[in-house]
Structures are given as C-alpha cells and as structure tokens.
C-alpha cells in the first residue's frame, strides 16, 4: 500500500471506506439483500483486519452467490490471501464477520475446501503425494484417529481426477510446480466440500496444468459448488470467472464479471486511487515507529 505514489486528489473524505469517484453504470459492489442468508455460500460483513495496526482489509462487505466460479483480483498486498484466511476465521479481525451459508465457519468447515499458496509449505518434507492428499480427509477423520482405508481410497480417486495417479508414491519435491499444484487441488477435492477457497492455484503452473485445473473447477461449478479463486492473470479473468471481486484493501468491485470488470474498476483497483487510505496507513505506521 505504502508503495503507491501519493497522487494528489481532491478527495478529502474523512471516511476512507466511502466511495467518492464517479459512479459507474452498474453498481460496482453488488450485494444480495433479497437472498436468504442461509443460501449465500460466503457473506462478509463490515470486516476490517489489521496487522500491527496497519490495515490489510478495510470495511469489507461482500456476498458471493452460489454455484459460481469467483475470481479475486488485486495488486500485491491488497489483502487477497488475508480475505481467504479471514473467511476461515484464521486471522484475528478488528471488526466484522464472515459467514458460510449463514453460519460461522467453525460450524461449516466440513463443507469448505482450502488450497493454500504453493510457496506456503516446505516441499522437501518427507511425504508422498498420496499422503498429502490424504490430509484432505483429516477434517473428517478427527483427532487421534487414523485415516481409514476408505479415506485413502478417496485420496487415490482425487489424485486420479487431477491426472496424478501415477505419481501417488512420489516424494513431493520430485514433482514439477504444476504437479505440486495439482496435488494441492486433489487434496481439496478429497475434502469433498461445497465451497472451495483457493489461493493462487495457477501460480507457476504450465499451460497444460492451467487448462486441466480450470476444467476441474468448471466441473465443480457444474455440480453446484462455489469456488473462490485468488487470481493474478488479468487476461484470463473474463474467460474463467462468472463473478469477480476486485480488491485493494477495500472492495473496489464485486459482481458479475461482464458488469463490473472494466477499465474504471481496474484503474481504481490498480491505480493510485486509495491515497487517503494509504496516507492514513502511513500515518499510523509512522506513529507506531515513532517517526511522527
């Protein structure tokens, strides 16, 4: 955030969350007030998250409709990964909440599948691809117990689904980046969820793997599942996603891709438009470090 150039703008609004720029034709942030909350896979309300008092997500209000393939885009440090973690209540919130089908994550985690960033784990760990995928069953297995033969069977099927059956016994560092990402996807499939949260499943994969992954995601969508994907490649957004969330600390846009993904919202997401917020963040940081 602080690396954005402080372009002087006339916006002197005291509330950083307020949208003061020209209104686009369709509302940029589309909520689903008429839908029964129990039918909304992911709803985020008034959520603010800060690390060391530096805001990472600010005043986030979001509804994600059921059965859609949803992309989250935004610059580095926009809070995309944090939002995924926040939906699972894995980071402390300064305010607000996230709900899965109207209930807290803790009650619903069995229907949520998670694909973390590939770089977040040590791939030299002594473990086979099949063992990693079997971890997807741990939520069903529970404390102290061992995965059953059926759990292992489900893991094998998930590996087969992503085209990795022949690599089941490989140690994971002996896989290519794309194959590692497929293993992570297989683990999420083994979770047998209704809502999937995926943190950059396309990062560092080859074209063939990207095509294979998107095929699987579309198949999941066809089964009525909701998939939230942190994505970096703006070129493919309109092709891949029904719904897009554009994020830069606060939500710039959220809605059907063809309605909200345009130059105006892109500029607001990636351009230096959030100067008041950046300035406020910088002021807080300066205060913390004693420079103010």
């Amino acid at each position: 955030m602080s690396d954005q150039s402080p372009t002087p703008v006339g916006d002197q609004s005291p509330t950083p969350g307020e949208d003061t720029s020209a209104e686009p034709a369709a509302p940029a942030i589309q909520l689903l007030p008429d839908v029964d909350p129990d039918k909304i896979p992911i709803r985020i309300h008034d959520m603010t998250i800060a690390y060391h008092r530096k805001p990472v997500l600010w005043d986030v209000d979001l509804d994600v409709p059921e059965g859609k393939l949803v992309g989250i885009v935004g610059p580095n440090g926009a809070g995309k990964s944090t939002m995924i973690l926040a939906i699972m209540n894995l980071v402390p919130k300064a305010s607000g909440w996230a709900r899965i089908y109207g209930k807290p994550y803790e009650e619903m985690r069995r229907i949520v599948g998670y694909v973390p960033q590939r770089e977040s784990v040590d791939w030299d760990f002594p473990i086979s691809a099949h063992e990693v995928v079997t971890m997807g069953r741990y939520g069903h297995v529970g404390w102290f117990r061992r995965p059953s033969r059926q759990d292992k069977q489900i893991a094998s099927e998930a590996l087969d689904k992503v085209g990795m059956a022949e690599y089941a016994d490989r140690q994971i560092s002996q896989l290519s980046g794309g194959q590692q990402q497929r293993v992570f996807l297989a683990r999420a499939l083994a979770q047998d969820a209704k809502v999937y949260l995926m943190d950059e499943p396309f990062a560092g994969v080859d074209a063939a793997t990207e095509a294979a992954i998107i095929d699987i995601l579309m198949e999941l969508r066809a089964q009525g599942k909701t998939i939230l994907v942190v994505h970096h490649d703006l070129q493919t957004v309109t092709r891949y996603f029904d719904w897009v969330i554009m994020l830069n600390t606060r939500v710039v846009a959220s809605g059907p891709t063809e309605e909200v993904f345009n130059d105006t919202t892109l500029n607001k997401t990636y351009g230096g438009r959030l100067t008041v917020l950046s300035q406020a963040a910088q002021a807080v940081q300066d205060y913390e470090t004693g420079r103010a």
Partner: protein, 446 residues
C-alpha cells in the same frame, strides 16, 4: 572357547541395565528429534537443555535429594521457563529467534554453573555428583533411574503414535491443519511437551551441553536414507539407539570418560556415513549422478561432431584430433580421453590417421543430431523462439530426449510442416538434405 559376552561384561546385570537405558535415550531422542528438526525446533531443544541445568541445582538445594524424579522435575521447570522466555522475547520485541535463544541459553547455563559450583564448594569434594549433568555419566544410572526413563520413553512413543497424523500435518502445512478445525496451539504444545520430556530422559546420561545433538544428529542422518516421515522417525530411533548404547559401551572402556561426548561422536560417525553413502540424497550418489550426466553429454558432443564433420566432408571419416578439437572447441587432452572412452564402448575406432565412428557410434550420433535439429525446428515452428535463438536450448534438450519423444516430434514435423525428417541427418550425400530451422520461411539464421 572365547567368551565374547564376558569380555564385554554383558553378562553383568548392571552393565546390561545401563546399556538399555542409553539405548532408550538414543531411541527417544532420534524419534522426537525427527519432528523437532523438521519443525525447525532443534535449537529450541538445545536452549531447553541448557535452561534445565539451574533447575537440577535448585531442586537439589531445595530438597537435598538426588533422586532422578526430583532433579528432573526441577530441570523441567526451569527448562520450560527458558522456552517461554524465548517465546516472550521473540513475540514482544524485534529480537530474532536465534538471538533470543542465544541470550536465554547462556544466561540459564551461566546461572546453572554458578549454582553447581556453589553446591560443590559447600559440600565436601564431589559428593553431590551433580556435575554429571553437564556432560553425562550413563554409569551413574541405577535401576530406579532406568525404570523412570522407561516409563517416560514409553509414554513419549505412545503419544507420538496417537498424534502422528497431527504432528505430520502441523509441520508440513499448519494453515491447512488449522482450517480443518484442529487447534495448532494444542498440537504444537503437545509436540513441545514431548521434546521437553525427551530432553529430560537423556539429561543424566548425555548431559545438558550435548543432549541437543542426540535430537538433531540421528534425525538428520536418517533423512538421508528415506523420503517418508514414518521411516525417518523409525530409522532415527534406531540410529539414536545404536549411538546411545555404543557410546555408553565405548566410554566405559576408559575410566572417567563422560558418556555424552562419546554418544555424540558415534552418532556423528553414523551421520557422516549417511551423508556420504546414502543412495539418492548422499553426497557420493549425487556426485555419481552428475558425473554420469557430464560423461553422457561429452559422449553426445563427440559423436555429434563426428556426424557433422562427416556431413561436410561427404564421407564417414576418419577425422583427425585437430579437426575434432576445432569442431568441439576442446583441448587435445580431452578429445583424446573422450575418444578412448568411446572406443571402450565400441562407438569409435582409433587409428593413427584419426577417429572414426563405428555403426553403433553412427547410430547414437545420428540420434543426437536428429534430436538437436528437430527440436530446433519444433521451437521455430511453434513460434516459441526465433531461429537464431534455438541452438542453445536444443543443446540442452538433445541429451534428454528419448526415442519415443523423438518419434512423436518427427511425426508432428512431418505432418504439420512437411519436413522430410529422414533427410535431416545425411552423412553420405552432399549435405544438401539438411536446411537449418527457419530457412524454409526465408528467415535469417545466425
């Protein structure tokens, strides 16, 4: 008949008991060490052990008892205080973990030494015998001690069995484990608790200074042999157990040699053997793999040079060392050495007038050249690279392509681009059969 057992004193119940105790210590150290090392907590184990020393002294001063459970309780208390202090320092200040560990470890150890010295002085001579906690004295174990250690070790192994899946996931992917609803704090606390217990089990025989090595060394040695966590844990337990028992036995051969250092030396010996000779991960295996790659590349280059010279000359050979040197950019010595190596493989014949490929050599050489050239064509036609950029990537790929990949490549180029792949390599014609990639499109080839 030579009585081996009696020479080793193994028929002596005390000796057997002491060896059994050492074996237990090594085995628990190795097993728990695997988790500690993979979790990046091995230095934490070291800090814990050093922080245990003042606890031993304080427990003695307070109770006047030298019984192992009492001393271990004291050691555990200060050990845990030390670990908590490290966590407090790293979470509340900007001091990094290694510095925090360094501070806590040395301060606690210093306090421990001061207390020990005080105890030694106030009692006559060495009566307290607490100095064995510095470098370890396995021989000082009595039956009750071993019994206590056995109970603790069994407890540790049972908990590891029960929480194996949780530990594995905690270390590999904590975020994911947490997303499944497991409490990271609880799993981590359980693992840390077991590490504490493991250190305490070995305190008397190995000593606070070196016990960390019994956590780290067997685990790291075991990692060289396997790519599976459960095998690593079992193997580290075996390596640790062997080091423990052997170290105790060897140190008993000379008077007043502390056990800890000898155990550590044995474990280190096993580590060195593992690091050097383990298949796949070992240094030697890696070196042999690289060496085989280098030799294969040189063989391919020499054969390719022979083919390309033959194409230009319109005859199969022979070609002089000088011609090969010019073609390959190699020194005379290397050309001669590689040519001799190829003769041993029956790929070339050597005569005073030069080097000539045998039918086997021609076949492999033709294959390599074909791989190189067809890959260049492929890169150009697929618009992956410009015609003047394809030589180097093709150079790398030519050593790796397999016959069936080449077959597919030929099929694609023949079908989609009308290239007569049989004429790509032609050592008998006038060399007109081959046109470099990109020529057909009228592009400049550098």
């Amino acid at each position: 008949m030579f009585d081996f057992l009696s020479v080793l004193h193994l028929e002596d119940a005390t000796v057997r008991m002491v060896l059994f105790g050492s074996l237990l210590i090594g085995a628990t150290g190795g097993a728990l060490g695997s988790f500690a090392v993979l979790r990046g907590r091995s230095l934490m184990g070291d800090a814990l052990a050093h922080a245990a020393l003042p606890g031993v002294a304080l427990a003695f001063l307070w109770t006047g008892s030298k019984s192992l459970p009492v001393l271990i309780t004291g050691a555990t208390c200060t050990g845990i205080i030390g670990v908590l202090l490290i966590q407090f320092i790293t979470s509340r200040t900007r001091i990094k973990a290694d510095a925090a560990i360094g501070i806590v470890l040395t301060v606690f150890f210093g306090v421990g030494i001061v207390l020990l010295t005080h105890i030694q002085r106030s009692l006559v001579g060495n009566q307290a015998g607490l100095d064995k906690f510095l470098f370890g004295q396995a021989a000082s174990m009595v039956e009750d001690d071993v019994r206590v250690m056995l109970v603790m070790s069994l407890f540790i192994f049972v908990v590891v069995l029960i929480l194996y899946k949780e530990f594995k996931a905690l270390i590999f992917d904590p975020n994911f484990l947490q997303s499944l609803g497991y409490s990271l704090q609880k799993v981590d606390l359980a693992l840390m608790g077991l590490i504490v217990l493991t250190v305490m089990v070995g305190l008397q025989a190995v000593g606070v200074v070196l016990i960390a090595a019994m956590l780290i060394t067997p685990a790291v040695a075991a990692r060289f042999w396997t790519e599976r966590l459960h095998v690593m844990v079992a193997l580290a337990a075996v390596i640790g157990g062997v080091s423990g028992a052997t170290g105790t036995f060897l140190s008993a051969q000379a008077p007043r040699v502390p056990t800890g250092p000898v155990m550590v030396l044995v474990a280190t010996g096993l580590f060195i053997v593992s690091a050097l000779f383990a298949p796949r991960r070992g240094v030697l295996a890696r070196w042999l793999r690289q060496r085989a790659n280098v030799l294969r590349e040189r063989r391919h280059h020499l054969l390719r040079a022979l083919i390309e010279l033959a194409e230009r000359a319109g005859k199969a050979g022979p070609f002089s060392t000088q011609e090969l040197m010019d073609e390959l950019g190699w020194e005379r010595r290397r050309v001669k050495r590689e040519a001799k190596r190829l003769r041993r493989l029956d790929m070339v014949t050597l005569a005073h007038h030069g080097v000539e490929a045998t039918p086997a050599g021609l076949a492999e050489g033709t294959f390599v050249v074909k791989c190189h050239r067809l890959w260049e064509h492929y890169l150009v036609y697929r618009d992956i690279l410009a015609a003047d950029h394809v030589d180097r990537p093709a150079d790398e790929v030519e050593h790796l392509l397999t016959p069936d990949i080449l077959e597919r490549l030929e099929e694609i180029l023949r079908r989609d681009h009308g290239i007569d792949t049989d004429r790509v390599v032609d050592i008998h014609g006038s060399g007109s059969g081959y046109r470099p990639a990109g020529r057909e499109r009228g592009e400049e080839v550098g």
